[in-house]
Amino acid sequence: MSKRRRIVVAVIFIIAGYWLLQKLDFLPSLKNIFKAKPVVIDETPILIKEIKSIGQLITFSSFDEVVVDSNIVTRGSRFVNSFNTLAPIPVLPSADKQIVLIGRGKVLAGTDLSLLTDSSLSIRNDTLSLFLPKPQIFEAILNPSDFETFVEKGEWSNEEVTLVKIKARRKMTDRALQQNILGKAGQKSKAIMEDFLGNMGYKKVLIY
């Protein structure tokens, strides 16, 4: 074997050996040396603040994705903006605080059965009549893991971002209402209660 050939084979073996050791986690990856370590939160206890009895018959959920944005004009950006208006063409880039969030969450709707009263039910011979409360939106869920920050310019405080997230939640609820989630939830609630009471042996069940 020539000297040159031996060097090439040795280099290949070194690369292959390094790659294998790295795969087996014996060596740190070269690309990870300048990679920031992830920030991990401490394990802290979970405290129960309140236990509430509810009676929510959840019959429809709407999964949706919304985009919300917000701009805040700061003192500095106001100066930049006024300078740009005076100039024939905008010279300086805008210094407004800007945020664009993408939220993926769900809206839950149904009927609150805890609102049923004695007068909501009436039985006459083999006919059962049930007056269900109006369907309602129970909650719109947008958890921290459901948000993606697409653009963030300037320093945004937690309180300012919260207002933008509330806007996203409202947008998601409005879109669910546009899809007639309440009408569909009401129909489904009636069907579930009709099945439940029918399975109990009532021959005629009237749900209003």
């Binding site: 050939r5 090439v8 290949i12 690369i15 920031a36 920030v39 991990v40 939160i41 401490d42 802290t44 206890p45 979970i46 405290l47 129960i48 603040k49 309140e50 236990i51 509430k52 009895s53 509810i54 009676g55 929510q56 018959l57 959840i58 959920s61 709407s62 999964f63 994705e65 839950l108 059965l113 049923l116 004695d118 039910l121 039985i123 059962l128 129970f138 909650e139 869920i141 947008l142 958890n143 921290p144 948000f147 920050t149 963030e152 320093e155 945004w156 937690n158 971002v161 919260t162 997230k165 509330i166 939640r169 899809q179 989630i181 489904k188 579930i192 099945d195 399975n199 109990m200 042996g201």
Partner: protein
Amino acid sequence: MRQSIYIIVLFLLACGKNKDGQEPTILSLKEMSDLATVEYTVTKIIKASDNKTWFKIGDRKILMSCEAHIKAGIDMSGINKNNFKIRDKTIEVTLPSPKIISLSIPPEGVKTEYEEVSVFRDKFTTRDRDALAAQAETQIRNSVDSLGILLQAKVNTSFFVTNFLKKLGYENISINYNGNSFFNQMQ
């Protein structure tokens, strides 16, 4: 020789991980049949120190608080005629086992209580804060069993169904979960 080098390089490239494997989410309206009977409100402190990266000078710390709402109850779609045993004013109902229905951490429930950032470091961004809150969300999700919410859901569901059946005129009511007698109401 050159060919063997190409083969090895190709082999190494082929062994790389594909990181674009995220499943697309289907966005739509979905029917449900869940009866939520209990809601827990829990709080948690989110504590983090960003001082583990060797090339970043100075550290930054953050202390946040978060409030979560967890709902539990039963899936009513699993109830059919076989779940009822009725004789005159006596009724025996077998209900499905309770489950967690939803976990919600509303945006207004997450608050930054304290933040300390050294001169050479950037402040925590929205993405950073969300990532920390998402970790808290996972910790809460993983600890749900230890909170006793499913047991409380059984108690509340039994109470709720019993009250409903009383309105229908039943006097002796027995509620079971998966064949195990859990709650008996005799009047």
